[in-house]
């Protein structure tokens, strides 16, 4: 019997609002369907299995970023040549501009300062008793920390969260929802062009270091704003949603919260496991530079390919009981930050921020519970929450009730 090459295909719209409420059953079906599945809606291939996603992410020569990492040509055209949408020496020289600033060896010096900022935020929330852990906590720290590091002024920072959200949404299909968000993206871009200048940026900041690279001939002048924007956008919704997803687990799993509270060294493990389960960047795109065979399906040269980190991180072929939050899984090999030359440059900073929030909470808070239903935030590419109502008590409040 002749075995024909088969093309495994699906009619699912991976970016629809309804699906993204709970994409995991469909992602599991896609994993079982085949290593590479052609998605008729929006015309791309999706990789959902851990080993395939990891291999493709590390193989930039075949799965290139240099033709953009979004779905549609209009957006890819605007990305090309940036740090996300380049490969090889061009990419390395862009990434090198802030390497010394962003690398863990540099940011570990910021630990005390970030811990203090997280403590101040939590101290202000405790008297409220209940609060929204997304807008009042998870969004606050990354905006402060990253905007301070890039060195932009306080005024205008409210553009960061909606601007980053719109920037990530543009990686997905051109939909009415994206149209609605574009004004926020434009406002953000205009703001960076206004404040990303020598006289507005804090001396010694990352933004100033980008301008230094231009002055020293290491970076073309027209790449300065895109690079500042890339770091600003990358440091927002990703960290925000990773932290919010972790806090949701604390609120829904008292056993996990108790364990972390009694042993705050588990903060790192809690964050990694939350990133694995609810990967903030669900997927980025690549383009094939040649025909590639994956699990019997030939993905033709020039295809858009979605590396679905969110699906890969729940692949039962790699993770035991993948839908379960396990504080002791020890799975540092998850793909939430990607892997390889495009592996997230700011992951050390994200870890510092998450750890700071966990420490601030565990030092002060006794009970950490839901005070209402969490509300999902719709974004085609980023997975996160709109609202996470939380009620906390401290030892002092608990004693107050008793006396």
């Amino acid at each position: 019997m002749t075995r024909f090459r088969h093309q495994v295909a699906s009619d699912v719209d991976l970016f629809s609002r309804a699906l993204l409420e709970d994409p995991y059953p469909v992602l599991r079906e896609l994993r079982d369907l085949g290593g590479a599945v052609y998605m008729r809606q929006h015309d791309f291939y999706v990789l959902t299995r851990y080993e395939d996603v990891r291999r493709a992410d590390r193989d930039w020569q075949i799965f290139t970023s240099a033709r953009g990492v979004a779905l549609v040509p209009e957006i890819n055209a605007s990305q090309i040549g940036g740090v996300l949408a380049s490969d090889g020496p061009e990419h390395d020289s862009l990434r090198a501009v802030l390497r010394e600033q962003v690398s863990p060896r540099a940011i570990n010096k910021l630990r005390g300062d970030i811990d203090r900022q997280a403590a101040e935020l939590v101290d202000a929330l405790i008297p409220l008793g209940t609060f929204d852990a997304v807008t009042q906590l998870a969004q606050r720290l990354p905006v402060q920390v990253v905007a301070d590091l890039i060195g932009v002024p306080d005024e205008g920072r409210e553009k960061l969260i909606p601007g980053a959200d719109a920037a990530f949404a543009s990686f997905g299909p051109l939909t009415p929802e994206l149209q609605e968000r574009l004004p926020y993206l434009v406002a953000f871009l205009d703001w960076i062009a206004e404040v990303g200048t020598r006289d507005r940026l804090r001396p010694g900041s990352w933004g100033a270091a980008v301008l230094d690279a231009v002055d020293e001939g290491r970076l073309p002048a027209e790449k300065a704003f895109p690079l500042m924007r890339a770091f600003l956008v990358a440091g927002m919704d990703t960290t925000v949603n990773g932290i919010a997803s972790m806090l949701r687990v604390f609120a829904e799993r008292p056993d996990v919260w108790e364990e972390v509270r009694n042993d705050p060294k588990l903060a790192g493990a809690a964050f990694e496991e939350a990133l694995r389960l609810e990967s903030p960047v669900q997927g980025f795109f690549r383009e094939t530079t040649c025909d590639v065979e994956i699990d019997g399906t030939t993905v033709p040269a020039g295809s858009r390919v979605c590396l679905h980190f969110g699906a890969a991180n729940r692949d039962e072929r790699h993770f035991v009981d993948p839908d379960r939050f396990d504080l002791h899984r020890g799975s540092l090999d998850h793909l939430a930050f990607g892997n390889g030359v495009h592996g997230c440059a700011g992951q050390g900073l994200a870890r510092l921020e998450a750890r700071a929030i966990v420490l601030a909470l565990t030092e002060r808070v006794t009970t950490f519970e839901l005070a209402g239903s969490p509300v999902r935030h719709y974004n085609p590419v980023i997975r996160g929450l709109q609202e996470l109502p939380i009620a906390v008590t401290t030892r002092a409040t608990a004693e107050g009730v008793r006396s």
Binding site: P104, R105, D333, V341, G343, G348
Partner: protein, 63 residues
């Protein structure tokens, strides 16, 4: 088995050291060093696991 470390690519995330402290150490500048030129057989599995978690693919196992 040996492990080659691309120190130009290493950003000091330290995950290799966390997974396999007997194989990988970060120096004072947070750049990775591989402790053994030839990885002892009993540490091979750990060495592999440590190389695998490198977020920027700076570690390569050579057999």
């Amino acid at each position: 088995m040996r492990v080659s470390a691309d120190t130009a690519r290493c950003e000091g995330h330290g995950l290799c050291e966390e997974v396999a402290p007997k194989v990988y150490e970060l120096d004072d500048d947070a750049v990775v060093t591989v402790v053994h030129e030839e990885v002892p057989p009993e540490l091979e599995r750990l060495a592999e696991a440590g190389a695998r978690v490198c977020p920027v693919a700076a570690l390569k196992v050579i057999r």
